[in-house]
């Protein structure tokens, strides 16, 4: 999937530079992504290779379960996936390792596939469109905003960042650094200011300056901190009062190393601020990010973006097939 296909509301004539860049990336970056996802999938594939050479034995299903558990898919989702795999394997009389892995990747990809293809798009059709970025501490919200703004600018939008993380020391400076790298405007206030007030200013500024997409950075907060969650809900209300229907997107950033708590995070954040999509970050490590399967399955929240590195370019639209296949299979993802 290309970047210009990841958004809803882009102008139909793509800037030439962006198109050229995408062509280049289709060659270069897919390889990189595969390599990165390959790292994540490597241990798992190794696991499968050793267990699957002996054919389908009694221990096999338990070992597949463990492999899924190891990918942080979680007990419940794992049990359901394995049951489904058993059913399909027996219906289709699967006997070889490759067939079984292909079947497994297919099941996972289907689980991650949104019901409606539009669901995975990031809606930037509003004028201005508002994207609220939320998550627990240290998942990579600020970095994600930098990369997202970079993409939007490249695709001909005018992003404007709003530094509503007024709590963490130097969070505003961190976002400012990204804004200057991307070359976009940023609205900020003194540390300790009311985040809702910063957001209010930010949207007013976006209107007067004609910015196309407002991206709001918020302080990392544990979903168990009720006051902070209330504060976030207030930020959202302030946005909605200024622009009916906004925020058009509320992206929850989840770190791929997160275990089962990720599901709880998604649940609580979704209740507080109506999350429209998940950004899965830090997939360039050895963590597999399997928790997004449980999040998609149990809460129905689509995964929209993945982070695969520290460079501006290292944010990608999420592709369920690619993700599942890169996780379980050796072969090159389809279509690249």
């Amino acid at each position: 999937m290309d970047w210009h296909e990841a958004f809803k509301g882009l102008s139909s004539d793509l800037p030439a530079a962006a198109a050229e860049h995408e062509d280049e990336e289709r060659r270069g970056l897919f390889g990189r992504l595969r390599e990165n996802l390959g790292k994540a999938g490597g241990a798992l594939r190794e696991h499968f290779r050793t267990i699957l050479f002996d054919g389908i034995t009694d221990d096999l299903w338990e070992q597949i379960e463990e492999a899924l558990i190891f990918a942080d898919v979680g007990v419940e989702a794992t049990v359901r996936i394995v049951e489904q795999l058993e059913r399909e394997a027996s219906e289709q009389h699967l006997t070889s390792r490759d067939e079984l892995l292909g079947c497994l990747a297919g099941i996972v990809a289907r689980l991650l596939q949104p019901d409606d293809p539009d669901e995975r798009l990031i809606d930037v059709s509003g004028e201005p469109a508002v994207i609220l970025v939320v998550g627990v501490n240290g998942t990579g919200k600020t970095t994600t905003i930098g990369k997202l703004a970079f993409r939007l600018a490249e695709l001909g939008k005018t992003p404007l960042m709003v530094a509503a993380d007024t709590f963490r020391a130097a969070a505003v400076e961190q976002l400012s650094e990204w804004a200057s790298r991307v070359g976009c405007e940023i609205v900020r206030q003194a540390p300790g200011s009311d985040p809702a007030a910063v957001v209010y200013d930010g949207i007013a500024a976006a209107r007067s300056r004609g910015a196309g997409v407002v991206i709001v950075d918020t302080a990392g907060r544990l979903h168990t901190q009720v006051n902070l969650m209330n504060e976030l809900a207030k930020v959202r209300r302030v946005i909605g009062k200024q622009i009916p229907g906004a925020p058009h997107e509320t992206l929850l950033v989840i770190d791929a190393t997160t275990g089962q708590n990720g599901l709880r995070q998604a649940q609580v954040f979704a209740e507080a601020v109506a999350v429209t999509g998940v950004v899965l970050t830090k997939l360039d490590g050895s963590a597999k990010g399997g928790i997004v399967i449980a999040i998609r399955e149990e809460l129905g929240i689509p995964i929209k973006l993945i982070g695969v590195g520290e460079r501006l370019e290292d944010l990608r639209p999420f592709d369920p097939d690619e993700f599942a296949r890169a996780l379980f299979l050796d072969e090159t993802p389809a279509g690249s």
């Binding site: 942080d72 240290g138 400012s176 990204w178 901190q225 190393t257 275990g259 990720g262 709880r264």
Partner: protein, 444 residues
């Protein structure tokens, strides 16, 4: 923290309690539940297998069968195995005979290294040390600013030559700086992936250059199965001495703690439990095990009370509580004392029985509500604080205006205060007092 795991285990043992004796089927059922609970708690599956085998072996032994209360016996075994797994006893920092003691703080991106450095500095200050912070994260935008700001807040000197300097040089010069300015050097490093060869090599170079007395790996308590990979790699490459477990104020079950300890054999030295710089504590595996089993963590609370409230203050407070002659001034004092100990929710989390008590767990402690109460009391005249009975309608309006609250808020506080006073009168006696139930406050 860990409450779901303890709830789960309590569920298992609740069932076991109903039986007179344990059959093998009972034990199997309990083990299955424990296995599932541990997996859901993000304990690495290999560690889970090992753990469950140990527990089962011991549970099936004669000691359980012959015991009068088999359920308690199983609780004891699980507790002991948890302690064995997470290490036993205190895990203190190594201090050098020739200062400065050098502490290198490393970890993955976003695990909380910079905050941990500041909290650790505060923690050491309370112990009479003079920590110096060193900003060697030159990669993340504004990471240096963050450490400098936190150092100011903590009141510790900071060495931060900037983002254009080589981290190895920053570390080396920073230690020299610390020799002048203090006795402990805490080096904040950039977050790095354990699969990133280049950055791991940089960490090795820093280690070789400054020869730290302690290398601490910071691990997010919400980490899943991958915690073992990261911990193992950091251990192999830079030979960590211990682990700091962060973000424990969330509801993550924190199985990473068990996994990391089991896989690296390195102790967890500290736990970080909140947004405030004081929300940081020595990690005690035995207490953590008790906590996992829902037995609370009274010892940590006692230690907190001891460092944060001087004996004299505590005695004065107790005296007032005994007198049951309680004014808004005392109330304010008391509020301050309690808040000094850290955020209220983190204190409540340490109380025994709380993890299992649904109603208390769901009762939200609103810190901002506390701010409002403080504001209301601050808006009273000294006369009003001592004799709240004089507060009439117009005074209430003035107080509400002064504190930026509503008259209804003032009324509510006055009513609560009257009720509390009544309660204190009833409780007047050696064990009386609002805080009498807390350890360290003269309770039983």
């Amino acid at each position: 923290m860990f409450d779901s795991l303890s709830e789960r285990l309590q569920g298992v043992f609740g069932e076991l309690r109903g039986h007179g004796k344990l059959s093998e089927a009972d034990v199997d059922k309990a083990m299955r539940e424990i296995r599932l609970a541990l997996l859901e708690a993000d304990v690495n599956f290999k560690v889970v297998r090992q753990f469950v085998n140990h527990v089962k072996e011991r549970a099936l032994g004669a000691e359980v069968m012959e015991s009068l209360t088999p359920a308690q016996q199983v609780v004891k075994i699980v507790n002991e195995e948890l302690i064995a797994l997470m290490g036993s006893g205190d895990s203190r920092l190594a201090f050098s005979g020739r200062p400065p003691t050098v502490i290198l703080v490393a970890g993955l991106q976003g695990s909380g290294k910079t905050t941990t450095c500041a909290k650790l500095a505060r923690f050491l200050q309370k112990d009479g040390k003079r920590p110096v912070l060193i900003a060697a994260d030159v990669y993340r935008p504004a990471a240096i600013d963050q450490l400098v700001t936190l150092a100011e807040r903590v009141g510790a000197p900071v060495y931060a030559p900037g983002a254009h300097v080589d981290p190895v040089d920053i570390a080396t010069d920073g230690v020299a700086f610390a020799r002048e300015k203090g006795d402990v050097a805490i080096i904040d490093t950039a977050g790095r992936l354990h699969v990133d060869d280049e950055l791991m090599e940089e960490l090795v170079r820093i280690r070789k250059a400054v020869k730290p007395h302690n290398i601490l790996l910071v691990i997010d308590a919400m980490t899943g199965q991958d915690a073992v990979n990261a911990a193992e790699q950091f251990k192999q490459r830079v030979d960590i001495d211990g682990v700091v477990l962060t973000k424990l104020d969330g509801d993550a079950r924190g199985g990473a703690a068990l996994s990391v300890r089991a896989v690296t054999g390195k102790p967890i030295k500290f736990s970080s439990t909140g947004e405030k710089l004081d929300d940081f504590d020595a990690f005690h595996p035995d207490r953590m095990a008790s906590r996992i089993l829902g037995m609370g963590d009274v010892l940590t609370l006692i230690e907190k009370a001891q460092t944060d409230i001087s004996d004299k203050e505590a005695a004065r407070l107790e005296e007032r509580l005994r007198r049951a002659d309680f004014t808004f001034e005392d109330f304010l004092d008391q509020l301050k004392q309690v808040r000094k100990m850290g955020s209220l929710s983190s204190i409540v989390g340490l109380l025994p029985g709380v993890p299992g008590m649904k109603e208390l767990k769901n009762a939200q402690i609103d810190e901002r509500q506390m701010d409002r109460i403080e504001a209301i009391v601050f808006s009273m005249t000294p006369e009003e604080r001592r004799h709240p009975d004089v507060i009439d309608g117009s005074r209430r309006q003035r107080i509400a205006r002064g504190s930026g609250t509503q008259v209804a808020d003032v009324n509510r506080l006055l009513k609560q205060f009257r009720e509390m006073k009544k309660m204190l009168k009833q409780m007047a006696g050696p064990k009386g007092g609002l805080l009498g139930k807390l350890p360290g406050f003269g309770g039983p």
